[in-house]
Structure formats: C-alpha cells, structure tokens
C-alpha cells in the first residue's frame, strides 16, 4: 500500500536504534527551538499545536497498552485526570510562594508527581485487567475511568463539580513537544528491544507467550503503569495549558477520542498514531464552520474506519517487519 505519506511515515518509523537516543535529543532540541520562536506564532495556532503535543503523548502512551500489548483500555482520560489534578493542585498551592524563575521546576515536579500518581492508578487498574480481555476489559477500564471522575466530582479539595481554576500557565510548546519526544522515544525504544518483543508476543498470543517463558502478567501491568504514567504527565501539561480543570473534561468521550487516534493511526504503529493525533486535533478546528455536523461526522468517521480500514489509516506494512535487534 503506497500512499503519499510514505516518506513522512518512513521518517517517523526510522526512530530506530542505536541512533534513537540521538533522535530523542533532536526531537527535544526542535521542541525547544520552536518554543523559543513561539512568540511569533498566532496565539490560537500556538494553542492548537500545544493540544497536538499533549494528544501525541496521550495517543502514543495508550498505544503501548492498546496497540503493542493488545489490551483494550477505555480509561485513558481517567489516568490523565489523576495526573492533571495532582499537578494542578501542587501548582495552586506552591506557585505563590515560589519565585518566578523556579516555576519551570515547579512544573517539572508537577509532571513527575502527576505521572507517578497516575502510574499508581495504572497499577490498580492493570492488576484486575489481567483476568479480563477484550470487551470485558474495555468496560472495566471505562468503569475505572468513571469511578475516578466521580471521586473528583465529590472531592472538595479539588473543587468538586466546579473543578480547579486559576492554574498558572506554565505549559509551553517546548514542554509539550519535548515530553512528546520523550514519550515516543520510551515507547519505541522499549518495543524495539528483545525485552519489548514480549509486549507484542503477549498481544499476538498470550498462551503461546506464556509457554515461551514470557510472564504476561508482568508485561500487561508494565504497559498499564507506563501508559498511565505518560497519560498523567499529559494531564499535568493539559492543566497548565487550559488553566482550568473540571471532572467532565475527563469523561468517557475523552477516552474515546484518544482510542480513535490510536485506531486511526493503526494499533501498534507509533508513527501512524502520531500523525493521527495531529490530524484529529486539527480537524475539529478546521470544521468550526460545520459545528452542528462536526460530531455526527466524527461518529461516521469511526464507523467508516472500522468498516473500511480497521487496521488504521496509516498502518503501512513495514513496522514490525525486520525489526531487528540493536
């Protein structure tokens, strides 16, 4: 299947090793340069590009769970909210007493703490997930997402139903794309190792994987924990980008949005998923004129995708082939 996207896709898919660590540095450097010039950009476009960066983190990390490991999580928005709320609360409490030049450090601490809190949530979801598969797992993760939302909705410390507002605007283009580069690196480096082939093996056939000495339990929990960690970081960036958080921002629909990015990009195809995240972030902005029909078209897109190209729009056939060691 040749499309005009081939060269772009190949470029992204070539995040391969041992040059990968260099690629990571290039990615972060590019993000910082872009961030440096971001004053020149139109504020609106800048905001959408930051959304893109955050969505790339979400989609690539969900892809580790749903794509590479073959689980089916519908609760990514829940993980995102855990990280978002944790980091936002941290900033709201400490930003008045921290001098401005230390604000990036505060954000950094928020990202880490948010990611860790979310990873703990991922562990708690991952453990029961071991016994379930397919649609049952989907429903349970959906349930966990809803439970997390209801808890936030009822917790006065994080503003209950009205949420948190006045979160300082720390997120920049550099942060979003820098973290996106790290996420892509981590997922790609992990999967492209002998250890990481275990994720794909579990995804393909759990029973056979187990018989080859691969412990499916460990892989699945690892995927959930790592995926949740990055979702939590994405949530933290989101909080410091939007500056307000309400529980309804993290409902079932948000999880679906991320799942659609992964499916559109092609489960387990990092490059495609990145592209899909960018396209699906920009599409609603482009379709502002058709606001009334936008969501109907979105639903039709999901159905059409499943009927015509369930393997994803950008799933070209060379990702897993020849994924040689080192």
């Amino acid at each position: 299947m040749k499309t005009g996207l081939d060269p772009i896709y190949k470029a992204i898919a070539s995040v391969r090793l041992p040059g990968a660590k260099r690629w990571l540095l290039v990615g972060i450097a590019l993000a910082l340069v872009a961030s440096y010039f971001s004053g020149q950009f139109n504020r609106y476009y800048l905001g959408v590009w930051m959304d893109c960066g955050i969505n790339i983190i979400l989609a690539v990390s969900l892809n580790l769970i749903n794509g590479h490991t073959g689980q089916f999580s519908l609760g990514h928005a829940g993980f995102m909210s855990v990280g978002g709320y944790t980091a936002a609360k941290l900033s709201l409490v400490y930003s008045p007493s921290v001098p401005p030049e230390w604000h990036p450090v505060l954000l950094c601490a928020g990202l880490l703490l948010g990611g860790l809190a979310s990873a703990v949530a991922g562990f708690l979801v991952g453990v029961p997930s071991l016994r379930l598969r397919g649609d049952y797992l989907a429903i349970v993760t959906l349930g966990f997402g809803e439970i997390i939302r209801v808890i936030f909705q009822n917790t006065e410390a994080v503003g209950a139903a009205s949420g948190l507002s006045g979160i300082p605007k720390y997120t920049t283009l550099g942060w979003t794309f820098g973290v996106a580069a790290i996420t892509i690196y981590v997922v790609a480096a992990l999967v492209n190792s002998t250890y990481g082939r275990g994720f794909l093996a579990v995804s393909d056939d759990e029973v056979a994987a187990s018989s080859m000495g691969i412990n499916p339990t460990r892989y699945k929990v690892t995927a959930f924990v790592l995926g949740a960690f990055f979702a939590g970081i994405a949530g933290a960036l989101y909080a410091h980008h939007k500056q307000t958080l309400t529980p309804t921002q993290f409902d079932f629909m948000k999880s679906i949005d991320i799942v659609v990015m992964v499916i559109l990009g092609g489960m387990g195809r990092t490059g495609g998923v990145i592209l899909a995240a960018i396209i699906l972030t920009w599409m609603p902005e482009m379709l502002r004129g058709f606001a009334d029909y936008r969501m109907i078209m979105y639903a039709l897109l999901i159905i059409a995708l499943m009927m015509l190209r369930p393997q994803g729009l950008f799933a070209l056939n060379f990702k897993r082939k020849g994924g040689g060691a080192a």
Binding site: F72, E146, I147, V150, V259, I302, I303, M306, P310
Partner: protein
C-alpha cells in the same frame, strides 16, 4: 419501616427497567459475543417514538388510558425493533467475521452517531421535553403501605416479558436456533439454521424490549432528551454482566440487584453522589471474583 418498603418497591421498579434493558444486551451478546453499545440509544428512540406517537394515538383512543398506553408502547416497540434490525444490518453485519474489538468500536461509533444526530436541531434537538402522560398511575394503599401504581406496573410488565422471553428461547424452534447460534455459530449454520435471520430476530426482540423499557422509564422520569439512554443503558449492561451475560434470568436478577442497591445507596447521605461509581465498583468486583456472573457458567480457553 414504611419507607423501607417504599424504597424496596422503588428499587424493584428501577431494577426491573434495568433488567428489561439488560435482556437486550444479554441476548445480543449471546448470539454475537459483543456489547451492543447502541442498545441504550434504541431505548431513547423508543421513548421518542412514544412521545411523537401519543398525540396521534390520542385522536383514536383516549389517553391517558390503558388501551391507549398499550397501543403506544406496542407501536414504539415495533419501531425500535425495526431500528435495531436496521442497525444490525447496516453496521454490524458487514463486520461479522471481524475481530470483536472492531465490532465493539463500531458499536460505540453507532451509539455516538445516533446520539449526536438526535441532538441536532433538525432532529429531536438537545433540549428536554416533557413526556406525555400515557396512563394514570395513582398511589394506592395496601397493607398500610403506599405504592405508586407505576412501580407495580413496571414490575409486572418485566415479569411478564421475562417469562415471554424465556418461553421463546427455551420452548420455540426459533429459540432453539438462537441457543444453537449462541453455542456454536458454524455448527449451527451447518445444521441448516439461517444465522442471519436468527441474529436479525434477536436484535429485533432485544430492541423491542428496550423500547418498552424506554417508555416505562420515561413515564417515571421528569423529561426525555437524546442522552437519556446512556445512564440506564450503562447500568443495564452492568446488570447483564453481573447476572451472567447470555443468561436471561441473570439479566433481570442483575438489574434488580443494581436497582435496589442504587435506591438504597441513594437514601444514605454522603453515598448518594457516588451512585455512578457504585454500579461500576460492583461490576469490577463481580468480574474479578466471579467473572462468569452470578448465574453464568465459567469457560476455560482450549489449548
């Protein structure tokens, strides 16, 4: 004590509605092994069908009134049966040999499509609409306790429909075919069973039940809107899993259990806001400790 019994009957009624919806989930899961996410929207369509039909029916049969209400409900059920079969034909049939997750995501897409389309101002619009009073349901007193007759009607209708479903599935040829398809689709096809017809029939039946549930739910609810099906739909799905998916009495049992729990939890201050979380917590516990559900049979993967 008085309020305990009232809560009991309230929970029983709510649970019966969940049970009716759960029957649809469970039957479709039985034959196709996937969660029909759009089922909760069929329920909403049922309520809207009744909403638009009621004024028309009123011109012939007096409303509120038992006969009129039955006619409206029957028509709504027919419309929804058609809608359910149409959804199956258009969206699910082309995917029958595809992986389950593909179908699941499609079902989510179909559900979103129906919801967003119905919210559009050219269709139903997103606003709340008052549901017409199809039947009088005065309170009555029995053994010193006050009951809403609507609740009693709901429980009776559910019991009757469960019995009907059980009869269809266990005692008719079509039911035997349904069970065969559920057991092994390929083998059933080899035995000369028309798989497509059975699946269509199952969707029709499940959707008709959803319509009845939708009308009953709307009668007790303050108003209807295009997203009204989501919450009861989710609960009903949970009920189906709790009872043992694929198991008809299990679906109703699960529904009643959930309805009772929700009603009683709602009565406890501090717990009421956690109602949504409680339903899911129960689901998760059941799946962890009794994955096949209360009445389901456990299966082991063959190697």
């Amino acid at each position: 004590m008085d309020s305990f019994f009232q809560q009991l009957i309230n929970g029983l009624a709510l649970g019966s509605i969940y049970g009716l919806i759960a029957l649809g989930y469970t039957m479709v899961y039985g034959v196709l092994r996937f969660i029909n996410f759009a089922h909760s929207d069929v329920l909403m369509l049922g309520a809207y069908a009744a909403f638009f039909l009621a004024p028309k029916v009123q011109q012939i049969v007096p409303l509120p009134g038992l006969a009129g209400a039955l006619i409206v409900m029957l028509l709504a059920a027919l419309i929804c049966a058609a809608a359910g079969m149409l959804i199956e034909f258009l969206a699910y049939r082309p995917l029958r040999s595809r992986p389950k997750l593909t179908v699941l995501i499609t079902a989510i897409g179909v559900s979103l499509f129906i919801e967003f389309t119905c919210q559009h101002k050219a269709v139903f619009g997103a606003a709340n609409r008052a549901f017409p009073k199809l039947i009088d349901f005065p309170n009555f007193t029995f053994l010193g306790l006050t009951f809403t007759s609507l609740n009693v009607i709901i429980v009776l209708v559910t019991a009757a429909l469960l019995a009907g479903m059980w009869f269809i599935v266990q005692r008719t040829r079509t039911g035997a075919a349904m069970r065969a398809v559920s057991f092994n689709q390929q083998a059933a096809a080899l035995m000369g069973i028309n798989i497509s017809r059975i699946i269509t029939f199952t969707f029709g039946l499940g959707s008709a039940l959803a319509a009845v549930a939708g009308v009953l739910y709307a009668l007790g609810a303050p108003a209807i809107e295009p997203l009204m099906g989501t919450q009861p739909g989710l609960r009903a799905f949970i009920a189906a899993v709790v009872g043992g998916i694929g198991n008809l009495p299990g679906a109703v049992l699960g529904g009643i259990l959930l309805g009772l729990l929700e009603t009683f939890a709602g009565g406890i201050p501090g717990l009421s806001t956690y109602r949504d979380a409680i339903a899911f917590a129960i689901l998760i516990l059941i799946l962890l400790f009794k994955p096949a559900g209360l009445l389901g049979k456990a299966t082991v993967e063959k190697v």
